[in-house]
Structures are given as C-alpha cells and as structure tokens.
C-alpha cells in the first residue's frame, strides 16, 4: 500500500507544482467557465420564477465544458514531451498513476468550482452557499474526473485528441450530469430531501462504478 500511495502522492505533487508555475490549465478553465457564466446570464435573461430551476443546468454545462479543457491539457502535458512513457517505464502500479492523475484533475476542477460559484451566486441571484449543493459539486466533480481521466488517457493517443475527448466523454457523462442538475436544482429550490436522495444515490453509484472500471482497465488503456 505504501508504494501505491507514494506514487499517487508523487503524481499529485508533480501536477500541482507544474500547474503552480505555469497556471496554464487553471487559467484556461477559469476564463472559459466565467465566459460561459456571463454569456448564459445575458442570453437567458431569466425571470426570478424560472431562475433556480435553470441555473443548475447552466452550472453543470459550465463545469462540463471547462472540465474537458483541463482534462485535455492534463494528459497532453504527459504525452507531448514523452512523459507518459516516463511514467510507464517506472516499476509502479498503473492504477496508482491513474489515481494520481485523477486526484490532480479533481483538485483543479474543485478549484475552478470554488471561484466560479460565488460569481454565479451574484449573477444569478441565487443562494449557492449551501452544504448540500457543495456535496453535489464534489460528487459530480469526482464522477466527472474519474471517467474523464480514463477517457483522456485513451484520447491522448490520437492525433484528434481535442475533438475526440468530448465526443467520447459527454455521452458517458449523461447519467451523471442529469443527476447532478436534478440534485443541484433540488437544493436551489429547497425541495424535500427525500426527492433529492435518489439523484444523490445515482451520483454515488456512478462514481463507484466508474472508479472501479478505471481501476480495472487503465493499464490496458495506457499500454500498447
């Protein structure tokens, strides 16, 4: 277990240190996310009655699109200078590499969410500062990066990786995004918790299924 955790820790440290220096990924994701927020705000001109039901959709569309930028960039950084081979040459468990990359991507995704959410709160005049909503963001982000890291590892091998990743990712994300939008909307509209639980359960099951799937297939995905 110790080598596994040490490998994971090394990958996360490396990704965070590299991103701290370049700020390429976070700044790209953030600018894109904020632009989407502003564009939807002006395009939809929501009435107070419909705002809380629509806002959740806007929130998750923003996260989903901004997230693909981050995932593409994260794996491209490994591939372009041959670093993916460098990782694969090391005598380490391949799933530790996956979990390391997944954790880094989760940190970046949550960092974007932490900055974007208050802006949402102001622009859409909704109270986003609810623990339940943050739990949905955490569960949704975890599911997103678990499947996203796996598919980005596949897409990065192709020349058309920038196009390929969203094409592969979004169909697989549909159950998660539907559940995340419904659960977020439930918290924003303050509907009873028993109506929100099924969506939360769906997100938990999705996360478990895709983390387990990635655990089993990642080695086959990254090796020739």
């Amino acid at each position: 277990m110790k080598p596994f955790l040490r490998t994971m820790g090394a990958i996360v440290w490396k990704d965070l240190a590299a991103e701290w220096r370049s700020r390429e990924m976070i700044s790209g994701m953030l600018v894109f996310a904020l632009l989407v927020v502003f564009i939807f705000n002006f395009a939809l001109e929501l009435s107070p009655a419909t705002r809380s039901s629509v806002t959740a959709g806007v929130l998750w569309v923003t996260f989903a699109f901004a997230g693909t930028l981050g995932l593409n960039r994260s794996m491209a950084a490994e591939k372009d200078r041959g670093c993916l081979d460098g990782l694969l040459l090391a005598p380490v468990d391949r799933t530790a590499l996956y979990f390391g990359k997944m954790l880094s991507n989760l940190v970046f995704m949550l960092a974007v969410a932490v900055i974007v959410m208050p802006v949402y709160s102001v622009l859409y005049t909704v109270n986003l500062m609810q623990p339940g909503l943050w739990a949905v963001v955490a569960l949704g982000s975890l599911g997103y990066v678990s499947v996203g890291t796996l598919l980005a590892s596949m897409a990065v091998q192709a020349r058309t990786r920038d196009i390929l990743l969203p094409i592969l990712l979004f169909p697989v994300l549909i159950p998660l995004l539907v559940a995340a939008v419904k659960a977020s909307s439930g918290f924003l509209q303050a509907i009873p918790m028993e109506e929100i639980w099924p969506w939360l359960n769906l997100m938990i099951v999705y996360d478990v299924v895709f983390i387990s799937t990635a655990f089993m297939v990642f080695e086959a995905v990254v090796e020739e």
Partner: protein
C-alpha cells in the same frame, strides 16, 4: 543481459519485426543501426516494456517480458529523442519526482551526484523549459540513471543536438559504459556509434541482417560494414 528470440511485432496487418534474434552480454555497448522504418524504435520499445511482442521471447537479466515487466523496469533506464521531462519543474524536481516513482530513499545525495555527473549542478533550480536541447538530453540521461539501472536503452539520443552537446553526451555515455552498464543505442550517426560501441547490429526490414564486434569490423570501417549489410538483407536475415 538481454536475450531476444524470434521476436515478431505486428501492428494490424503490418509486420514491423520479423523474427529478431538478439543477444547482449552484461557490460556490452551495442549500437543498433538501420535505415528509417527498419523497426529500431519498435524493437527498443519492446525491450523497454512499453510495447508487447506479438510473438517470440524477450528476457532482460533473466526476467521475461511482458510477464515480469515490473522487475525489468526496476533494472532498466531509457533515453529517447524526447526528454521525458517536465518543463515546468526544475532539474532537481524532475530527478526527485522520478526517484520517488522508483521508490528511492535519500534522494538528496543521489540527485546532487547525478546533476554533477551530467554537468547541470549549477542549473539545478532552473526550470527545464529554459534548458537548451543538449542540456535537456543530459538531464534525460540523469533521469534514466537515477535508479542505477543495469541496462540503458538509448533511442537516437544525438537527434537535434549540436556538436558540443553531442560531445558532452558522448562523454557521459563513455562514463556509463565504463561503469559496466549494458547499453543498447539506436543511431543514424555511424561515426559516433563507431566511436562509442563495442558491437554493431544492423536491423533492416524487421530482421537483424548483420552483427560484428568492434574488433571485427572491416578495415574500411563501420560505414562499409553497414552498406554491405544493407545490400543483402534477405540472405543474411535468413541465416
């Protein structure tokens, strides 16, 4: 020691390696030569456990690939024409990161020693993206040696380097060879290969068509041996 028997590698319908037999003793420095498309990089990727053989047997220090890949990786260092380094980390951080992946303890001493060995001690805290191609390649050798491998695989390490950088790289490679590590290097630079290696194998159209120790080269030198080997690949490959 490297032992390869009847190695075949196919990508779909295309056969890249067609039954390669290859043997390297501990401490040998073998230059693997051949024209573009001969299969050199594919062959090296299989030795490095980055690609799986379609058929045949590959053993490194007695460990079978790909079944015992983890044991092989612990004893193998690889340098390719790409640096396999992170541009946004410093030279020191890159070595430290790879050291952690190899499970090494007490990295401070080892990192300092390697940086001094490849002549980058004074640039240890500089980001790798600010390095010249030659400096990156020297650091790549440091990365490949971090875990003191028994076998070093080099895939066209001189590609894109200027004369001074090539000479500095050669000095490091001679130093590595002098310490008894087994080295297999692919190259198009026959003059450098002749200067460095103790044996020369020529790979053409997926088979080793000729092999000779440095002492057994014809008086005209490696170029003559290489041209002769490429002229009749089928007969020699069959033999």
């Amino acid at each position: 020691m490297i032992e390869v028997r009847r190695l075949v590698k196919r990508f779909g319908l295309k056969t890249v390696l067609r039954g390669v037999d290859f043997h390297v003793e501990q401490g040998e420095f073998v230059a693997l030569l051949g024209p573009n498309g001969a299969g050199k990089t594919t062959f090296l990727r299989i030795l490095a456990s980055l690609a799986r053989p379609t058929l045949g047997e590959v053993r490194i220090n007695g460990y079978l690939l790909p079944q015992q890949a983890a044991a092989v990786r612990q004893r193998l260092g690889v340098v390719s024409h790409l640096p396999l380094l992170y541009g946004d980390l410093t030279a020191e951080e890159n070595l430290r990161f790879y050291g952690r992946l190899y499970g090494l303890d007490g990295l401070d001493g080892r990192v300092s020693e390697l940086l001094a060995r490849v002549g980058l001690a004074e640039r240890r805290r500089d980001l790798v993206r600010t390095f010249s191609r030659g400096m990156q390649q020297r650091l790549a050798i440091g990365r490949a040696l971090i875990h003191q491998p028994d076998v070093l695989l080099l895939d066209e390490p001189h590609t894109g380097l200027d004369q001074d950088a090539c000479e500095m790289l050669d000095t490091i490679l001679r130093d590595v060879a002098a310490q008894g590590q087994t080295v297999v290097m692919t190259s198009h630079d026959l003059a450098r290969a002749e200067d460095l290696a103790t044996r020369f194998d020529v790979l053409s159209r997926g088979v080793i068509v000729a092999s000779a120790a440095a002492q057994a080269l014809p008086p005209e030198g490696l170029l003559s041996f290489y041209r002769q080997a490429l002229r009749a690949p089928a007969q020699k490959g069959a033999a």
